[in-house]
């Protein structure tokens, strides 16, 4: 046991047994309601880790580490005086004495107890189920063991074709195994899907190369001939496999409760009331170990609601209660959309059914409606979940169905599915079921000043659980803003009644090549500091002409106009391109000599480049003349464009390097260096998973793996740091570059002005998955266009400084004054640490006084 917080004797002692997602949520709820001030709270977890996100467990295989999945690093507990113990199994409850016994022999008294012990995977007692190379799929340790085994073998089989089983099958497939699924029931996902839906799903999954055996009972597992195991089936056939993963459902982890004599369900589960109290009023139970109304809830959202109810009751608030939960669900399993709402099996007396099936694009949809056809009772979706949100709202809120209700599952002929307007939703409609946020809660948050989706998320937590409600949440927020009279104008400025994305498409489709032409055809007035640089940037992204060309020069913000970064005193800083941060001593000396000659302040930037500060306007062309002559190119540090590709030395020098990150970084920087984009873009390439180049904090991050390159997208540092999302793994060089081409061009085409990639992706309906669909699966048929657009930009790169030095008209604009050869006397430097810096106002006054 290890914890820093001493036990306070004055407060009643609340002990939480179990630190899974629900147990953790309970602690969060207590702290949020200041419950840690009225109770001394102690938490016991059986696993070595504090609570982690089991819903996204599979992401552990696709690059997320334990830290990424963690729900807390312990800070929340430490800061609020909550004691916690991992690796600690509670073995006995003495209810009479109100004492807990631990496996290590210690004991501890409690006043109130919460059992959040969760569930364990059910392993069918087939002879041979305890052989080596058999696993379950529940904890990080399980996944470590599966991964280790998968490295050595070729075939894997999942026993169980339910929700978790298919998720596990996807993981085995991604680990490179020939994968099979064996299901005892006649169809996949027997709980959520009907027979037809199950068979459509089976077809889709088999199309992905996973073998599916339904209606198949395994009789025994014995030594295989070609593989490690042989599974002998009841019908006399068999299957050879090296690895077996049992995922045949869950059972409540209720041994502790049973031992202590609490009231249990017939088939297990700790019986609770609406306040989540067990038969002992001082003991609560929440999550998958709890049995409410003879039902176990194996989803996280009901568990969270129980946690809230229990916390409320402990703190004297009986208004929150657990009164059952909706088990509707939508998922993407092995890339296939599956959704199930309410009474999916049409068991309600007298109900009627609509069915739609499309064998060509492989989709199946069913609606179960009441006898009078007015209410939706349930639905099944396979192949396309875009119908889910609308159906769920009709179901949850018992909204009267429209005439021709079948239109809700028919493909919309004009391309857009007939969605239920958010206006039609009642105030009580649940928008985020994970955090139980209603439309009214969102409305309240907006009225209280949360004027964006981000703000509303912060206040209500809506959309921060599974994230499935993101699109609906945005619609509700927009609708509330509209109702408040907050105009959600997407016009870029008063001169163009268009978004940046519209302008991009207009410029491209109508082949418009100048601001004046665009303004004449689609705008009004004379432009401003918003639309001019935005259009200048789009023109550069699409046609890639010299930015200081006569018709473009007035569009450029000062940095782009003078190809340098303006500093506070009106001087500029200069950042030559040093691809990958790799520079020869000879070139380094050139930089040193130039800096010395012009007395420039010199600093290494965060992106591994050299920045020379303090150049005046007329000095810029002089300095660049020398740099270009020495072989330097412009670094475009002034532009909304690719800034730098940061890198480690990788396998060329490093003992740990897995691949040549240096060459990759240099090549990537040279490929994308000319691209003008909605905002600045930063890359990094790391040569191994030690990640010294910090690629996961960049817009584009590339990390070498044993199998190729992992690609991360849409991270950033800065004001709101965000880790990049893992986009694809083990790519070869060519595929990597193709994906980066497409992500960047799609971003350049569709983002708002000055929108970083992270915010852009968060705003895409469908987020990361949608971006993958666009880039990897060509879902919207745009890949060819994106590829061509990027090739064009790459092929037409020019060093803007080289062009400028050859253009006398452009050079003329670098004069300090048009009628006088002197300098700007307000530019004054003082020395600090042997270099110049701009003088402060008071230093300037002093210097003037001395001169005077």
């Amino acid at each position: 046991m290890n914890s820093n917080t001493p036990l306070s004797a004055s407060k009643p002692h609340l002990v939480v047994v179990g630190n899974g997602m629900v147990g953790h949520h309970f602690v969060e709820q207590m702290i949020a309601q200041s419950g840690h001030e009225s109770f001394q709270i102690t938490v016991f977890g059986e696993e070595p880790h504090l609570a982690y996100d089991r819903v996204h467990l599979s992401e552990y295989f696709t690059g997320k580490g334990a830290a990424d999945l963690a729900m807390t690093d312990g800070t929340l507990y430490d800061d609020n005086g909550v004691r916690y113990f991992t690796n600690s199994l509670v073995t006995e409850i003495d209810r009479k004495a109100k004492v807990l016994l631990l496996q290590d022999g210690q004991s501890l008294s409690y006043d109130k107890l919460v059992l959040a012990t969760g569930s364990y995977p059910f392993v069918p007692p087939i002879p041979g189920h305890k052989r080596d190379n058999t696993f379950v799929y529940r904890t990080l340790e399980d996944l470590d063991a599966i991964r280790d085994c998968a490295k050595k073998v070729t075939r894997g089989t999942v026993v169980g074709g339910g929700l978790l089983g298919l998720e596990a099958a996807n993981a085995l497939k991604n680990l490179g195994l020939e994968t099979s699924v064996v299901e005892f029931a006649p169809r996949l996902m027997p709980v959520q899907l009907d027979e037809k839906g199950g068979s459509v799903l089976k077809g889709m999954i088999e199309g992905l190369g996973v073998k599916v055996y339904t209606d198949t009972a395994t009789q025994e597992i014995v030594d295989g001939e070609a593989s490690f195991h042989r599974m002998n089936f009841a019908d006399g056939t068999h299957l050879e496999t090296d690895l077996i993963l049992f995922s045949a459902g869950i059972r409540p982890q209720d041994a502790l409760a049973k031992q202590s004599g609490l009231e249990m369900g017939e088939r297990g589960g700790i019986t609770i009331n609406n306040h989540c109290q067990t038969s002992d009023a001082d003991i609560y139970s929440i999550g998958e170990c709890a049995l409410w109304n003879n039902m176990i809830y194996g989803l996280v959202a009901p568990g969270y609601t129980m946690a809230k109810a229990a916390a409320g009751h402990l703190l004297g608030d009986t208004s929150v209660a657990f009164t059952g939960a909706d088990m509707s669900t939508k998922l993407k399993l092995l890339g296939c959309d599956v959704g199930s709402v309410g009474d999916a099996h049409a068991k309600t007396q007298g109900c009627k059914v609509f069915v739609y099936q499309d064998e060509i694009s492989q989709s199946y949809r069913k609606m179960v409606v009441s006898e009078d056809g007015k209410k939706l009772l349930g639905a099944v979706l396979v192949g396309d979940n875009s119908y889910y949100d609308t159906l769920l709202q009709y179901y949850l809120n018992a909204i009267d169905l429209p005439e021709q209700a079948q239109s809700l599952i028919l493909p919309a002929m004009d391309g857009a599915p007939a969605a239920l307007g958010v206006d039609a939703l009642p105030a009580t409609a649940s928008i985020c079921s994970c955090h139980n946020v209603s439309k009214q809660d969102i409305s309240d948050a907006v009225c209280n000043g949360a004027l964006s989706v981000g703000d509303v998320k912060g206040v209500t937590k809506a959309g921060t659980g599974c994230g499935g409600c993101a699109a609906l949440l945005k619609k509700v927020v927009d609708n509330e803003l509209l109702a408040l009279g907050v105009e959600v104008s997407t016009d870029i400025c008063e001169h163009f009644a268009y978004t940046r994305q519209d302008l991009f498409n207009i410029i491209k489709i109508e082949q418009i090549k100048s601001f004046d032409d665009l303004l004449k055809k689609h705008g009004k007035g004379h432009g401003c500091e918003i639309c001019k640089p935005a259009v200048g940037s789009i023109l550069a992204s699409v046609w890639n002409e010299y930015v200081l060309k006569k018709e473009h020069i007035v569009l450029q913000d000062t940095n782009d106009r003078f190809l340098g970064n303006m500093q506070k005193d009106g001087t500029y800083s200069i950042v030559p391109r040093i691809p990958g941060g790799e520079i020869t001593p000879a070139k380094l000396i050139v930089l040193g000599e130039v800096a010395k000659e012009y007395n420039l302040y010199t600093k290494i930037t965060g992106g591994q480049r050299i920045d020379l500060f303090g150049a005046t306007l007329p000095q810029l062309p002089e300095i660049w003349g020398k740099l270009v002559a020495a072989g330097f190119e412009t670094g475009q540090a002034y532009g909304k464009s690719l800034r730098t590709v940061k890198s480690c030395v990788g396998s060329t020098w490093c003992r740990y390097g897995v691949d040549d990150s240096m060459t990759m970084a240099v090549d990537l920087e040279n490929r994308y260096k000319g691209l003008r984009s909605p905002h600045k873009i930063k890359f990094a390439v790391s040569g191994c998973t030690r990640e010294c180049a910090e690629a996961q904090s960049k817009d584009i991050g590339v990390i070498a793996t044993e199998g190729g390159w992992n690609l991360y997208v849409c991270g950033n540092g800065g004001m709101k740091p965000r880790h990049g999302d893992l986009f694809a793994t083990d790519l070869d060089r060519e595929t990597l570059i193709t994906y980066i081409d497409r992500v960047l061009m799609f971003y350049t085409k569709t983002a708002d002005r000055l929108q970083r990639t992270s915010v852009w992706m968060d705003g895409l309906e469908g987020g990361l998955e949608y971006l993958k669909d666009v880039v990897i699966n060509d879902k919207i048929g745009m890949c060819d266009e994106l590829d061509k657009a990027m090739d064009y930009v790459v092929d037409t790169f020019q060093c803007e400084w080289k062009t400028t030095l050859e253009d006398p008209e452009a050079l003329k604009t670098f004069r300090q004054f048009v009628n006088y050869d002197g300098v700007d006397e307000n530019v004054v430097f003082v020395e600090e640490r042997d270099q110049i810096r701009p003088a402060t106002e008071s230093e300037k006054q002093e210097l003037i006084a001395k001169v005077g």
Binding site: G527, E529, V554, T558, R561, G570, N819, D824, N826
Partner: protein, 112 residues
């Protein structure tokens, strides 16, 4: 007080749609040439000094036409200054401005 027109530079020294800096009587002036302006004169001059950024940079700002007024946005902190009056749109500040005229190839400023 006497006023007189003084030659500053040639028209070819100006940039259409943007600003340049000139030195007039030891004072920095930002001169903008806007052929699209509907006023009699197409040349405007305000002080080059940005009172917020405290630097001589206004000639290097972007010209913005906002609700019928020609302005320049400071390249440092983006406040707008009306080119014909020197008024700042965001704050209660007014900077010097001068009348200008274009005669043939010559650009004149009205000294005061």
């Amino acid at each position: 007080m006497t006023t007189q027109w003084k030659l500053v530079c040639k028209k070819s020294d100006l940039i259409e749609g943007a600003g340049v800096a000139a030195m007039v009587n030891n004072q920095q002036v930002a001169i903008f040439y806007l052929p699209e302006a509907t006023s009699d004169t197409k040349v405007f001059a305000i002080s080059n000094w940005d009172p917020f950024g405290k630097a001589n940079v206004l000639s290097r700002g972007l010209v913005a036409h906002l609700q019928g007024q020609w302005t320049v946005a400071s390249p440092l902190y983006k406040q707008h200054f009306v080119l014909s009056t020197g008024e700042c749109l965001e704050e209660d500040v007014k900077i010097p401005h001068w009348d200008m005229k274009l005669e043939g190839d010559n650009v004149f400023i009205l000294e005061s």
